[in-house]
């Protein structure tokens, strides 16, 4: 069956994927959230408030930028960048946290928890909480705290409490576990602002909807700029929120090719990558049924990516649906190729991309080379690379002192 944009169903199912595999304790909060979100979605006041925030606080619409020097150097298709990196807080994450912060207030809750990998979602949540005067606790794996020091400092400056997570692999996956455990005890007073299109229903749908502003603007800007839709759209996929936001408005435009790029890490052996759609199989993790990297007993495996935001063994259920229906092609990009793309974009365009987004840039460069010059490839540049300065220096063997 071809993919449709009319998903999920009332049970949060994207085809076979999604659902709600969480303890009974959370069911009530998820029902409450679903109901409140449905009301808000149809409330012009809510929509106007969110759009005003996007415009005056985030700086939307984000530009669709023609990477001319890069395109010429590659000698093929024209590469355009959807500049989510110029958003306030430096990534697409703020699109979602502002929406969920407004919902938090509508539900009469005053405390927010969040997980973060690269720290971008943590910063975006801390920012939204500061903006609305909400209490904010961010769970972050110890390994990620090491890799993303500037973001940890920013969160604290914004008044959030950053709680280090020392269990398991000490990365994004464990941060989500810890946030869910907090929510188990605090569910009556606290909203969990999940940062990606993962987790139990309604999160995958709701986060996708908030992020879909990326794809809607891209369609509008494409029609204005070059009078048609792009030929190919590329985005990186960890949990998959920037990709879902970019792809979703394109799903019913069948002529546009969609490519999701996972973290290929060091290689295709278990433990060396974080590419669940490429190498995993359907299973249950963090409340939904989707592709996951797990062993034959169902234990989640450790994964690797140099980019903290992609270092996750699962993926949003709608991506699994798009994979199974063939609507989106998923591939993966090795650490070293993403690093090369990081350098290339810096030198040709004066833009330091986030390491996550560098995976998408690498794939765009790869395919643009072989396409005619009148073809258009749009890359979702989901975040900026400032936060990665220390990690890039470390990986390149440069001592910043």
């Amino acid at each position: 069956m071809p993919a449709t944009s009319q998903v999920p169903d009332l049970h949060g199912r994207f085809g076979a994927f999604g659902g709600r595999y969480v303890p009974e304790t959370l069911t009530y909060a998820l029902d409450q959230l679903t109901a409140e979100y449905e009301k808000a979605k149809n409330d012009p006041v809510f929509q106007a408030e969110l759009e005003n925030l996007w415009k005056t606080y985030v700086g939307r619409p984000s530009p669709l930028y023609h990477a001319r020097r890069l395109s010429e150097a590659m000698g093929g298709a024209q590469i355009y960048l959807k500049r989510e990196d110029v958003n306030h807080t430096g990534a697409h994450k703020i699109n979602n946290t502002l929406g969920q912060a407004l919902l938090t207030i509508r539900m009469g809750k005053r405390r927010v928890i969040a997980e973060t990998g690269a720290g971008q979602h943590g910063v975006a949540t801390a920012t939204a909480c500061a903006r609305f005067g909400l209490e904010c606790v961010v769970y972050m794996g110890e390994e990620d705290i090491r890799r993303q020091k500037p973001n940890v400092f920013s969160m604290r400056l914004l008044g959030a409490e950053v709680r280090p997570v020392t269990s398991g692999s000490r990365t994004l996956r464990d941060a989500i576990n810890e946030a869910l455990r907090d929510w188990m005890s605090s569910v009556e007073t606290t909203h969990y602002i999940i940062g990606s299109v993962v987790g139990p229903h309604p999160f995958p749908m709701m986060v996708r909807d908030f992020q879909s502003v990326i794809g809607r603007e891209t369609i509008e800007q494409s029609l204005q700029t070059f009078g048609r839709l792009p030929n190919v759209v590329v985005a990186c996929v960890g949990g998959g929120s920037n990709a879902a936001g970019m792809f979703y408005p394109f799903v019913d435009h069948h002529e546009v090719e969609l490519i999701g790029v996972e973290a290929g890490g060091r290689g295709d052996k278990p433990g060396d990558h974080a590419a669940s759609l490429s190498f995993g199989q359907p299973g249950v993790l963090h409340g939904s049924y989707s592709y996951v990297i797990q062993d034959e007993d169902g234990q989640t495996c450790d994964v690797h990516s140099m980019s903290a935001g992609l270092d996750y063994p699962g993926v949003g259920p709608e991506h699994s649906y798009w994979k199974e229906t063939g609507r989106v092609t998923y591939t993966n990009c090795a650490d070293q190729d993403a690093m090369a793309a990081f350098d290339t974009l810096a030198r040709y365009e004066g833009i330091l991309p986030a390491l996550e987004s560098s995976h998408a840039v690498a794939q765009a460069i790869k395919i643009a080379r072989d396409l005619p010059k009148d073809q258009i490839v749009v890359v979702c540049l989901s975040g900026r690379g400032d936060k990665d300065a220390f990690e890039v220096a470390r990986l390149k063997g440069v001592d910043l002192g």
Partner: protein, 253 residues
């Protein structure tokens, strides 16, 4: 009703504990299948799962050990298991293997009632109990439907939160259980936070069973943590004493 983690610190000790619980007169044992990402569990049980998984315990080994020990037990054993594990094994195969090993049922803490129809059907066909959970955040109408779907017994989660010892339990707990009792003919067992003799005295008049997890698992940890770890016979004696104390508190009500 004690809870322990299979394979913490190894399956031989798990078998020893199961025999001990049975001999001391426990009415049922919940055997936790270690899982890498348990979201309903507090630090004590998480650490226990991690210890077991670090030793590479496999589901097949757990069922093998369980199958060897259940014929010697006078109490039933139910597995506490994540749906991630059941789904990966295949629900039918999981139930068949658990049943062949002598397990009487399963508690699946991350499979709420709405998602449980498929597994419930498989369990019903095999006369294998699927124990459902009701929590303080469950609306009453929903609690009635969950009770109707549960088999074996109904698990009442005493607190809004994760597993772990509590000094006090919510004041409305007794009333809530009493209400639930009027809605269902199933036995009602209470877990999460239950760890002290005072809890036993409070809950025994209204509940049919009390599940004690972290208070026992914390003692099991002594067999592998610390330098050097405590000798196993001492840990077994300590747990035996704790179980005796809890059981005598129960009998004195």
């Amino acid at each position: 009703m004690p809870f322990i983690t299979a394979g913490d610190p190894d399956l031989e000790f798990t078998a020893d504990l199961l025999r001990l619980f049975s001999e001391r007169g426990c009415h049922l044992c919940e055997l936790g299948i270690p899982y890498s990402d348990p979201i309903a569990d507090g630090p004590v049980i998480q650490a226990s799962y991690t210890r077991a998984l670090d030793k590479k315990v496999r589901l097949a080994n757990i069922f093998e050990t369980l199958g060897g020990v259940t014929p010697q037990l006078t109490m039933p054993v139910v597995t506490m298991v994540s749906y991630a594990i059941i789904n990966r094994r295949g629900a039918e195969r999981y139930v068949d293997e658990a049943q062949a090993a002598g397990a009487a049922g399963a508690i699946v803490p991350d499979l709420p009632w709405d998602e449980s129809a498929g597994l419930a059907k498989i369990c019903r066909q095999r006369d294998f109990n699927l124990i459902q959970l009701v929590t303080p955040t469950t609306p009453r109408e929903r609690a009635i439907r969950i009770a109707e779907a549960s088999t074996g017994f109904l698990y009442y989660v005493s607190v809004t939160g994760i597993t772990g010892e509590r000094s006090t339990l919510p004041p409305e707990l007794v009333d809530n259980i009493a209400w639930l009792r009027e809605q269902s003919s199933l036995p009602i067992c209470v877990g999460f936070g239950v760890s002290q003799k005072e809890h036993v005295k409070l809950l025994a008049p209204v509940a049919d069973g009390l599940i004690v997890g972290s208070a026992i698992v914390r003692r099991v940890a002594q067999a592998s943590e610390g330098n050097p770890p405590r000798p196993r016979h001492e840990v077994l004696a300590d747990i035996g004493q704790f179980v005796d104390d809890m059981l005598s508190a129960l009998r004195s009500v």
